[in-house]
Amino acid sequence: MAAVAVHQFAQCITCHAWSPDHSMVAFCPNNNEVHIYKLVNDKWEKVHVLQKHDQIVSGIDWSGKSNRIVSVSHDRNSYVWNREGPEWVPTLVILRLNRAALCVRWSPKENKFAVGSGAKTVCVCYYEQENNWWVSKVIRKKHDSSVTSVAWHPNNILLATTSTDGKCRVFSTFIKGVDTRESKTGSSSDPKFGEQIVQLDLSSSWAFGVKWSPSGNTLAYVGHNSMIYFVDDIGPSPLAQNVAFRNLPLRDVLFVSEKMVIGVGFDCNPMVFAADKSGLWSFIRFLGERKESLSGPKSGSQFSEAFGKLYAQAKHGLSNDTVEPSKIQGAVHDNCINCIALLNKKGSQTKRFSTSVFLFR
């Protein structure tokens, strides 16, 4: 895999989402707006600016079939944007939050969306036809800290969440009238809305970036302790694999296939993880090229200078002024990557915290 295209949209991007036909991308340039750019003749042009939020937009998702954008912000609000002619018309969704909204995802059927918040809650919103508005149902008292990321199982009912309390949880978001009962044994065995199916306590530090594999059989999420967790058999006795790696922590992951995951984070270089035939996950390689500096410690940029001074103390006070700060050559991103999104079945896209949007195939 290699970077296919590079574009600098803004100094810093907090979140992004692609349009259904991948011709447009919506992102927040670290302010209270959502910018939509369209690819016209190989050039990106700003076509819309959605201004409704009062604070940073922390999450954007663009539904693939119904072509709706949902945005959530630190201002505790969320808007669903519908395309009416040339304009995007916002509909306020009252989440009833008293803290910032942190992340949002449309469900696979696009009839619900989930919002993770700093209020230790998850809001699951659905559209009520009679009143022509979006209703929010809140999952309360199940998280001990901010909910950093949410992910829908392909069955449109199970929702996985990660939190800064270090745990990953799976809930049922079954809503009468919105979801159809799929169990054959009868209505009594279906889990109720907000019922916790499983709680995974694998990380002793903040958890981020949860995603389901395409089939929904495997769950992957990352911890702030430079570990990535792969879990099978979600249920009473899940099978977890803890994979430790030598680099800086990840922030988000993406399943490229059942057996391959790409992780992005503070190392500014996407990492590829894969499962072998026996189902054992391990780190394979980086996506971007990575030429280390020839001399000095293997860490790059500001680290080598700091480490040089640190270790110099052990060498009986010999000052190490000659250590040049080495930059990681060939890395596509300059700063932390905080989000990765699937572009289409063949490609995936990562975003840099500081400047550009990169496409990988």
């Binding site: 002793s204 530090s205 911890g223 430079s226 030598r246 680099n247 922590p249 410690p297 480490f307």
Partner: protein, 136 residues
């Protein structure tokens, strides 16, 4: 009532753990006499990651690990025979050593820290910082 009962059980456990640490200490002295500093370090590090809440146990274990750490003369050589499974727990003890402020201890820990970071990467440092549950 439950809390008191738990404390009682923990104290019992603490005595058992301290006895184990004393056993470890004797084994380490013997290994050092046989000029096997890396084996001594492995012995010291083993069993350290279990949740020991009791401060006395943590201190007792630290004394034993410290003894083994200070006996290492060939740091590069040590890494060629130290299994990667020990890296994370070693990093935690290096930071404990660095926090003592004692010059010889800090010098030794810094020397080992440099090589360990080369081998285990920044992720190892992250894990030692992030793990607030299994604090040593």
């Amino acid at each position: 009532m439950m809390a008191a009962a738990e404390k009682f059980v923990e104290a019992d456990n603490a005595e058992a753990i301290i006895t184990r640490i004393e056993h470890k200490s004797r084994k380490i002295e013997s290994l050092l006499k046989q000029n096997k500093p890396v084996e001594a370090l492995k012995t010291a590090l083993e069993g350290s990651s279990h949740m020991i809440r009791d401060e006395r146990c943590k201190s007792a274990n630290w004394i034993v690990v410290h003894r083994a750490l200070m006996a290492i003369k060939d740091v590069e050589g040590m890494f060629s025979s130290l299994d990667p499974e020990y890296y994370d727990i070693l990093m935690k003890y290096l930071y404990r050593g660095l926090s003592t402020g004692d010059r010889p201890t800090c010098d030794q820990c810094l020397r080992i820290h440099e090589k360990l970071t080369e081998r285990a990467g920044l992720g190892c440092i992250l894990r030692s910082l992030a793990d607030t549950v299994n604090a040593i």
